[in-house]
């Protein structure tokens, strides 16, 4: 019987081929996010008081709760990889499904957060937003920009999760399953990594 270590070692080049494109995308995307976050930080140095006030208006506990959800979803997708490696297809499928549920909870949290900020007049497009000072409008513009770009990445991640879930349920070829799972794990972990920078810069500093 071929061991899982052998499968990984034999398909070393193929796995590397699949993930090389993803890694290049992650590298470029990461630099884009860092640029946006650095711009937000530099605005913070310019409008210190307004940024402090703006942060007091955010739903801080929602932000922290989102962090916990995303980190835990990173754990579950990692555990699904371990489960599949240990030839436990059912457990792997369960973990991927749990990750999907966590992603849904994240989106729901975000919706509540956005609605709260919209009602308080901090979301661009609302009438009250145009009356805000330069510092406050700068904060909320970059805040929503970064958050929306992150949400686009999250939706893409959810699409990958759904495709992976269908593949696991259909019980396709083992090597293909492993490649798709590896791809999703790397992408989802990348989202957690990005959030590890977004949360402190938007909410804490």
């Amino acid at each position: 019987m071929v061991s899982n270590e052998q499968i990984v070692n034999d398909d070393f080049k193929n796995l590397f081929k699949v993930n090389k494109g993803l890694w290049i995308f992650i590298l470029i995307d990461f630099l884009v996010f860092i640029g946006l976050l650095a711009y937000h930080l530099s605005n913070g140095f310019e409008y210190k008081n307004e940024f402090v006030f703006a942060k007091s208006q955010l739903l801080f506990s929602f932000g922290f709760f989102n962090t916990i959800i995303l980190l835990t979803s990173g754990l579950t997708i990692g555990l699904s990889k371990v489960a599949l490696f240990n030839k436990n297809n059912f457990l792997s499928t369960v973990f991927v499904f749990v990750t999907f549920m966590f992603a849904m909870i994240f989106i729901a949290n975000r919706a509540i957060d956005c609605t709260y900020l919209l009602n308080n007049g901090y979301m661009f497009g609302s009438d009250a937003f145009s009356n805000l000072s330069v510092g406050l409008s700068s904060f909320f513009t970059t805040y929503f920009l970064i958050y929306f770009i992150f949400m686009i990445h999250l939706f893409a991640g959810i699409v990958f999760l759904v495709i992976l879930l269908l593949n696991l349920i259909k019980d396709v070829d083992e090597k293909l399953k492993y490649i798709k799972l590896n791809f999703t794990v790397v992408y989802w972990s990348y989202l957690s990594m990005i959030w590890a920078f977004i949360f402190p810069i938007l909410f804490l500093i």
């Binding site: 008081n49 307004e50 402090v52 006030f53 007091s56 801080f60 506990s61 922290f64 000072s133 406050l136």
Partner: protein, 364 residues
Amino acid sequence: MEILESIIHPQSLQRIELLSYLATISYMILLSYLGLLLSSTLLSCMFNRKGKKYINSHYIKLSKDLISIPTFNLFASLGIVLLPLLSIMFVYAQIVQASSQLVFDNLFFIIFLIVPAVLLIYTYKDSFELADISRLVNKTNETESKKEEFNIYKFKSIKLLTNSSRLAFYLLFASSYILIAAITLISDSSRWATSNSISSMLFNEATLISFLYFLSTSFALTSILALYLYFKPNSNSDESNIKYQNMITKFFQNTAMIFLLVQPMLYTVDLMSIPKIALANSIFGISVLVMIVLLLIVTLLYQMMKNNHIKYRGVILFLFIGLFALLSIKVQVAFNTSAQLQVKEIISVYNAKMVITTEQLGIK
């Protein structure tokens, strides 16, 4: 340290509530890992000594296995110990501020005990391998001078093994005791003004009882975790080691049972030592839940001992994690209740500051 007053910002009510939840999670992880380190180090030292005295290889093997439970990665261990300790320190600094300077100072001092203790535990674990190598090398046919040299290495490695384990245990014991003393003091706001010396903080009935309870929980946790890890699914059980397996099953089950049976009594005494200022309805509700969980754990453990199997070890471990969560919640609820006045003061300062800031910015 008047520095505290200058560096801490006043906080809003939502933030203080969040901080108390974070402190609960930090307690749960810190107390369980610290207890695991303390009890596994002590048991490992005991079995190592016994193994050398009776020249029993099973005891030495058990000693090695026990110390390998909490020592998975040095940086992870340091992170699991330091991060929650710093979190708890700064949470108390923000909520209580200058009211209890002694607690903050002692929590800071614990860092200087705990980091060397963790490093020494890893040294102890690695010195097992050193001692094995030096024993193996000694058996080869070498010249007299080389044999003498290897004898010196063997002696030094065994000395390192003994000294590192002993020192690690003393440092861990001291840091755990100071931590429990700090936790007990912070839950009693009536003692904050009067407790100005370390001796009044350390030599206190409530501290002693809480520490005894902490020790009993730690030993029970180590035994249950060892049972789970040794017989976990997908592990190859070596049939030539059936005698060893039977020995460790019996030892861990008996240890867990003994330390679980004393828990209800110790918990009740600990509950009675909680000061009136820190009591709340939820503490009694948590106590009822703790007793129910303890009863479940003891029943399942008894079933395993009676029917000579280890089927319920996973369930027992998860119930024990739940128990630790309840104990952490109890500690934090006691603190929240006793610090109500201080929290109200901080919130009023924060609200006043926010009014000034909004006026300055010309908002609303």
